[in-house]
Amino acid sequence: MTTFKCKRCKETDATLKSRKELFCDACFIKFVSMKQRKLMMVDEFYRDHFKVLYGKDLVDDGKSKILVPFDFSSSSLSALDVLLGLLKEQNMQHRGRVGFTLELLTVFKSDEDRINIENMWKELRSSPLYDESAWGFVNYHMVNANNFFESAKELQHIVLHDQDFTTKAIEWRNESDGEYSIQTLLDRCPNRNTRNDMWIFIVKHIVKKFTYQQENIKVILWCQSMTKMADQIIGLVVKGRGAQIASSLDSENADAEYGDRFKNLYPLKNTLLSQLDAYCIIRGLDKYTLNYEVKSDLFLNATDTDTSDTKTKNIRLVKNMTINELARKYFDDIEGEYSNIISTVLRTGDKLKPPKIETSSTDNHHGSSKCAICLNTIYDDPAEWLRNIAVNRGHPVETEEEQSYYDQWKASKIGLQNEEYLTLRNHAWDNGNDIDLCYGCTINLNGIKTKELVWPKNDSEELQSVLAEYEL
C-alpha cells in the first residue's frame, strides 16, 4: 500500500485526508484545536473571558465562567478536550492561574437518560486522558427537561384560530386540567419534525435560562459544528424561519431575549462534523459518546462498508427524517460533486441581518412583539400573510342534499371533535388575551390536530423561577 506524508509536518505518514489535505494525527489535532481557539479569541470581549488577565484588566474579578451545553456528541467532547487542554496550559504557564472556569450543562428527558448520562460522565471523569487537576476548573450540572413546565410560574393554553390564524391565550389550571409534561407535549405533536422543533427550543431555553440565573456567566459556548450550523440554516429556511437566521448566528451582540446578560459563541463553526469525529477517534474520545455514532470517513484506511450501510439506511428512511436530517443527507450526497457547499451555506447565513419590522396596517400590536412560544422577534404579521395565501373558507352549501350531508357531519364524531375545538376557541376568544406567534410556530400549531398547546407564560418572572438541578 502506498503511504503519503503529512502535508503539514512533511515527516510523519498521513493518516487522514480532510478537504483534500493530508494530515498525520498530531498535525490534525493541532489543526482542529487551533480553529476552535482562534474563534474563542475572535474579539476583545471573548479574549478577556478566556485569557489569563492581571491587575486592572481582570474581568469579573478573575472569575470568568463559561457555560458549555454538553450532550456527549463528538462536537461537545472535542470542544471540551480543547478547553481542558487550554486550561492545563494556562495552569502551567501562569503557575496555578487560569483565565476561566467551565460550567457544563446537560439537559435530560427521562430517568433512563439521566442514568446513562450519569454513568458516562463518571467514565469520562475517570478517563486516563485527563489529570484529576484538570477537572478542578469544571463544574457539571444536570437539569431535567420537565423543569420547563414545572419551574414555570404560570402556564397558558394557546389556541389558534383555524380560519384566520390569529392566536389567543387563556389561563391553564393544573387542578382541573391535569399535569402537563414534556412527554404530553411531544406526544401531541403530529410528526417528528414538530417534536424535534419543540425539543430543540426547550433545551435551548433551559440552557439560556440556567445561564441567566447564574452569576458571572457572560458566555455560552455552543458546541455546534459547521455541518450542524449549515443544517440549521437550511432547517430555518425550510420551516419559514428565515428571519431568525441572523440572530441564531449572532455572537457579536448580547442575547436580547434574555436580558442582554450573555453572548452566544460558536467556536466550532469553522470545523466540519467529520473533522470533529476524526478528532475524537484520534484522541480516544469516541467511547464516551452517547446517542451518537462517530464516523471514520476521513481516515485513509477507512473501510467502505460503513458508508454503503449508511447510504441504504438513508434511502430507506427519507420519509421518516426531520428537515435537519434531510439537509444533512443532501450535504453528504452532494459533497463529492460540489465541494465547500456546507461552508458556502454558513457564509451566506453570516451575511444576513434581521429584516425590518413591518407594522401591520390593521393591528399595531404586531409591530415589535416576541413570539409567545419560541421568544423570537416577529418581523411581519404571519396571520395576515397566511390569510392572503391560503383561503380557509369553502364554497357555500347549494342543494338540499348538501345541506343534509352537512347536518350529518355536524352530528358525527368528527363534527363533535370539531365542536369541542370550537367551544375551546370560543372560550378563548371570549376570555383570553391576544398573543403573537411567529410564522414558524403558527405553522407548527396549525399542524397539531386540536390547534392548541400548553406553554409557560414567558416573562421576566418566568426567567427568575429557579430550575431544579439534579445533584450528582
Binding site: V237, A243, K319, P354, H395, Y405, Y406, Y439
Partner: protein, 369 residues
C-alpha cells in the same frame, strides 16, 4: 390538431358519501383531492374557489395591475401558462380588473417540442378568445435552439435559452405596445430558486429571489408572477379538473445540473413537510443582507453619475442591439458573438441533422412494431 376535453369518469353517483369522505372546508360534498398546500381534503367546488381566490388575493395584495392596463401572458402551451391564461381571463371578468390581455409566445425553434406546444397555444387562443403574438429566436437572432445546441452543446442549453427567451418576451411585448408581461412561475419555482441561491451562496440574487414584480430601472417592461403562492401540483390539478387543453411534455434539453440537485432536495423536503414550499417563500421574503454585503447597491449609489464600464448601473443600453444591459454589450449579444464564431462555415440544404433530441423522441413515439 384538434382537441376534445376528456370525459368525466363514470362513478356510481347515487352511492351515499361517508362522513369521513366529506370535504374539510364545506363538510357537505365529497372530497376528491388532498390539497398539497396544507393536506386538506377538499371537494372540487371548494378547490376551484380557494385556488382562484388565493390568486385573486395575491393580485390585489400586491397591486399587480391597474384598470385599463394592457398585459401579455407569457404562453408556452404548458400547464402553468395555460392555467394562467385561463385564470387571468376568468378573474378579469369576475372582479372587473379592466385588463386587456394578449397571449405572447416565444418560438425557440426546438423541433418536435416547441412546434407541438405552439399548436396548443393556438388552440388556447381560440378557446379563450384572446389575441396571440409569436416571436421566434430565428427571426430575432437568426438561430434556433436546435442549431445552438448543435453548435454549443447540450450542457449550456438553458443559459442560451434563458437569456434569449427573456429578451424575446420583452421585445415581443414592446412590439405590441405592452409594458407588463405576466409569467406562470409558480411557488415551487420560487422556493427552488431561494434554496439554490442559499446553497450556492449567490448573495447578489438572494434578496430578489422572491420578488413578485421585477423591473430594471429604465426598462419599459415589468414582469409579475401571480402564481407566486400557487403550488405546481395544484396548478396541474386545476388544469386537470377544469379539463384545460395544455401540452405536458418537458423540454427535451437538459435542465441546469445544480438546479436539479436543489429540486431533488425540495422533493424530499416536501414529502416530510408539505407546507415547506410556502415556508421557504416566507423565509425568502425575510432574507436581508447586511449593509456591508451589498456591493452592487453600494456601487450603484456611489457611481450614479459615473460612466465606468465595469459598474453595474440599471438602465444602460447595449451598444450593439440597444437592449437594456448592465454592461457595454448585453448578455444576449455576448452569447451570439460566441455562437457566430463557432457556426459551421458550410451547411447542407434542408439539413435536418441539427434538429434536436425532441425530434428523435417524437419519431420514436410514432413508431410501432
Amino acid at each position: 390538431m384538434s382537441w376534445a376535453p376528456p370525459s368525466d369518469p363514470i362513478n356510481n353517483k347515487n352511492k351515499p358519501v361517508k362522513i369521513s369522505q366529506l370535504c374539510e372546508l364545506c363538510h357537505c360534498r365529497k372530497a376528491i383531492l388532498k390539497r398539497p398546500k396544507n393536506l386538506q381534503k377538499v371537494c372540487k367546488e371548494c378547490f376551484f374557489y380557494v385556488f382562484e381566490t388565493e390568486i385573486h388575493n395575491t393580485i390585489v395584495t400586491n397591486n399587480l395591475f391597474h384598470p385599463g392596463e394592457k398585459v401579455a401572458v407569457g404562453a408556452s402551451g404548458g400547464k402553468d401558462s395555460t392555467v394562467l391564461a385561463h385564470i387571468m381571463k376568468l378573474l378579469n371578468e369576475r372582479y372587473n380588473y379592466g385588463l386587456d390581455i394578449t397571449l405572447l409566445s416565444v418560438d425557440e425553434g426546438i423541433v418536435g417540442y416547441r412546434d407541438d406546444s405552439l399548436a396548443t397555444v393556438k388552440r388556447n387562443q381560440k378557446q379563450y378568445g384572446l389575441p396571440l403574438e409569436i416571436v421566434s429566436f430565428k427571426e430575432l437572432y437568426n438561430w434556433t435552439m436546435d442549431e445552438i445546441v448543435a453548435t454549443a452543446g447540450i450542457r449550456n442549453s438553458c443559459t442560451y435559452c434563458g437569456v434569449f427567451r427573456r429578451q424575446s418576451l420583452d421585445r415581443g411585448a414592446q412590439k405590441l405596445g405592452i409594458h407588463h408581461v405576466i409569467t406562470g412561475h409558480n411557488a415551487d419555482d420560487m422556493a427552488e430558486t431561494v434554496l439554490m441561491n442559499i446553497l450556492r451562496g449567490d448573495v447578489a440574487r438572494l434578496e430578489k429571489s422572491t420578488s413578485i414584480i421585477t423591473q430594471s430601472s429604465g426598462s419599459p417592461i415589468k414582469r409579475s408572477k401571480p402564481f407566486k403562492y400557487s403550488y405546481q401540483k395544484e396548478i396541474v390539478l386545476y388544469a386537470h379538473y377544469k379539463k384545460l387543453d395544455y401540452f405536458s411534455t418537458e423540454c427535451t434539453y437538459a435542465p441546469e445540473a445544480f438546479r436539479g440537485t436543489a429540486r431533488e432536495l425540495m422533493k424530499n423536503l416536501e414529502a416530510v413537510r408539505p407546507s415547506c414550499i410556502i415556508d421557504i417563500i416566507h423565509s425568502g421574503e425575510n432574507l436581508v443582507l447586511k449593509d456591508s454585503e451589498q456591493p452592487f447597491k453600494k456601487a450603484a449609489s456611489a457611481n450614479t453619475t459615473s460612466t465606468s464600464k465595469n459598474t453595474f448601473v440599471d438602465g444602460n443600453r447595449c451598444e450593439r442591439c440597444n437592449y437594456l444591459s448592465s454592461n457595454k454589450i448585453c448578455k444576449a449579444c455576448m452569447l451570439l458573438e460566441g455562437l457566430e464564431k463557432n457556426r459551421a462555415a458550410i451547411t447542407l440544404e434542408r439539413d435536418s441533422s441539427v434538429d434536436g433530441a425532441a425530434r428523435v423522441m417524437r419519431t420514436l413515439e410514432h413508431l410501432s412494431f
